[in-house]
């Protein structure tokens, strides 16, 4: 039994290495993000401002640019990337579907519809108003996709995807309707929907940080149950998992994360799809490490994508969704092909 006392998960070293690599990658891209731009700020100034606030800068202009423009968007990209990637990992676990993610399943569209409604019609509810609308929309979409797929054929890969497409398209139609009704605000709503982590201040960042924390904790607490879900729901239930409760907690947590991300930063696709797959390829499918590392990797990917979106064109900024979409679209097709091939076997 001496063997069992010193037993370690053989993947522990790999998990630690992967976590360290991602954290360093995030740090490097975050520092680059604060240094690079129309005005280059020396790296020692960036560190000083990040540490001591805008007044710590030698040049007040540098202080203002880094503190009020660049650091909030890096923080926003970090939070939204972590939310979407961990949410995608959890959804893939609950649905046992490699193609699941908040966008593919229509949950993000549901959130966008709810948030847009509040922005245009129920104005004057403050920062949390659109988040609340987004949460109601996203949660309803998740529940709807789940019940539609279950009635159509027991949560098979295809049934879940079809239900996700149906709900997503309906919600997109709802967003279009809101746009038409919005008239004067239509341009603002459209720009918001295109997706950007920029243009937000520390108030918005704090709000998203709070919601991300509230959403990520229950998600991480479901890690062992999600491992059992990989055997199928009936087997998980036989092992003692309260399957309905796990699904409800996961949907609510993902809806909260997605609502926070969508109502402040619009629609940013594919992060929730690609990142968990990449992490799974490196450290395996166990959800404790998968959810945790996906959150770090998502932060890394979105901060890097935002950096690219800002610097690729010299005269203007690309929507961040263009960057993630260019990477994610082909990736999605590869996954789709692979899952159809394995289903055909």
């Amino acid at each position: 039994m001496a063997q069992s006392q010193v037993r370690r998960d053989p993947t522990v070293n790999r998990v630690v290495a992967c976590g360290a690599f991602l954290a360093i990658g995030w740090l490097v891209s975050a520092i680059l993000g604060a240094v690079v731009g129309p005005v280059s700020v020396p790296i020692d100034q960036v560190v000083a401002i990040a540490w001591g606030g805008p007044d710590a800068a030698q040049d007040p202009a540098h202080g203002a640019i880094v503190w009020s423009l660049r650091l909030p968007r890096i923080a926003m990209a970090t939070l939204v990337g972590a939310s979407l990637a961990a949410g995608g990992a959890a959804l893939q676990g609950v649905f046992r579907n490699p193609l699941a993610d908040p966008y593919v399943l229509g949950i993000a569209s549901g959130g966008a519809f709810g948030a847009a409604l509040v922005m245009v019609i129920f104005t004057g509810l403050g920062l949390f108003g659109p988040v609340f609308g987004g949460f109601v929309g996203a949660f309803s979409a998740a529940i709807l996709v789940h019940s539609l797929a279950r009635s159509a054929g027991g949560l098979s890969v295809n049934a879940v995807l079809l239900a996700g497409v149906a709900v997503g398209l309906s919600c997109s139609a709802g967003v279009s309707l809101v746009l038409v009704l919005a008239e004067t605000q239509a341009t603002n709503v459209l720009i918001w929907l295109m997706g950007s982590v920029g243009g937000r201040g520390w108030a918005e960042v704090s709000c998203v940080a709070l919601l991300t924390g509230i959403g990520l904790l229950p998600l991480l607490s479901q890690a062992r149950a999600l491992d059992a879900f990989s055997l199928g729901e009936e087997n998980a239930s036989a092992l003692g998992v309260s399957t309905e409760r796990v699904k409800l907690i996961t949907f609510a947590a993902v809806a909260l994360l997605v609502a926070a991300a969508v109502s402040f930063c619009g629609l940013i696709g594919f992060v929730g799809l690609i990142v968990p797959h990449g992490v799974r390829m490196i450290v395996g499918p166990g959800h404790r490490k998968l959810l945790f590392l996906s959150a770090i990797a998502g932060a890394f990917v979105l901060v890097s994508a935002d950096l690219c979106a800002r610097v690729l064109l010299t005269d203007r900024e690309l929507p961040i969704g263009v960057i993630t979409g260019c990477l994610g679209g082909p990736f999605f097709l590869v996954l789709l092909r692979r899952s159809f091939l394995s289903a055909g076997r």
């Binding site: 039994m1 069992s4 006392q5 037993r7 998960d9 053989p10 991480l220 607490s221 890690a223 062992r224 149950a225 491992d227 059992a228 990989s230 055997l231 199928g232 009936e234 087997n235 239930s237 036989a238 092992l239 003692g240 998992v241 309260s242 399957t243 799974r280 395996g284 499918p285 166990g286 404790r288």
Partner: protein, 259 residues
């Protein structure tokens, strides 16, 4: 002791179905496709709640137990399961400890000991580090048995544990199940299609047909030629096994299937 009293399931069983299973027995559920074996097992396991009547495990209604309390009383292996990609044999067996663990901490020494023991009993030590999606059907079925065993439940419900296994793997698995449960006085109920294997290993057979029990007792009393021919609709010969005298069934060759 597992008691089903007056249960009415949505479909698959005749209304007001009753059954008592004594502790420590190995019961085989036999009968043709659609006879209600899976429905009965699901009701006993608490996976399906009867619309009336109740199932009691040691006097406690199964429906009143939380999933984790239930998992400590009853280990149920449904028929269908796809090996999950990327998990090792050890990972999957350790999932059987779910109901015994709290929070997100790793396995306790007691969990490790239970997993080691089950791996050993199911002869899985050599392949403990292999990924389950690379195993053969027989190997993965052994992994599932080990997982059910580490649940530490006194009752094991197995839905066709040897389906899709070759005769060698099937016999080996049944032998291992017996060895697994023998010293610990487990109660086991297995739905089985292979009547010969059921006669070899089970102390009691329950034959179902069209949702009701048509025979219940020792293999030699249940597996008679006239009953098998009536239930399965085909001619057969029943002979005693040369070694152990238990009945073995030889189906007769059918020339005209439209008869």
């Amino acid at each position: 002791m597992l008691v089903a009293k007056d249960i009415t399931a949505p479909h698959g069983l005749t209304p007001h179905f009753s059954l008592t299973i004594e502790s420590g027995s190995f019961v085989g559920l036999v009968g043709p496709n659609g006879a209600g074996k899976t429905t009965l097992l699901r009701c006993l396991a608490g996976a399906l709640t009867p619309s009336s009547g109740d199932v009691k495990v040691n006097q406690n209604p199964v429906a009143s137990l939380t999933p984790s309390q239930r998992a400590k009383q009853i280990a149920y292996l449904p028929q269908l399961e796809t090996a999950p990609a990327g998990y090792t044999v050890r990972d999957v067996v350790a999932l059987g400890r779910y109901a015994h663990r709290r929070g997100l901490r790793g396995l306790s020494p007691a969990d490790h000991a239970a997993v080691d023991d089950a791996l050993k009993r199911m002869a899985l030590e050599q392949i403990a580090a292999r990924l389950v999606d690379t195993l053969s059907g027989g190997e993965y079925q052994r992994v599932r048995m080990a997982r059910a065993f580490v649940q530490g439940a006194p009752i094991l419900l197995l839905d066709e544990p040897v389906a899709h296994l070759d005769p060698g793997a099937a016999t080996r698995l049944m032998g291992q199940v017996i060895r697994l449960a023998g010293p610990t006085q487990h109660t086991m109920i297995a739905a089985l299609h292979d009547l010969n294997l059921a006669a070899l290993y089970c102390s009691r057979l329950i034959m179902l047909d069209a949702g009701s029990i048509v025979a219940d007792g020792a293999p030699k009393d249940v597996l008679t030629q006239s009953r098998i021919e009536a239930v399965y609709g085909e001619d057969c010969v029943v002979v005693p096994h040369p070694n152990s005298e238990v009945p073995q069934i030889l189906m007769s060759r059918t020339e005209d299937s439209t008869r």
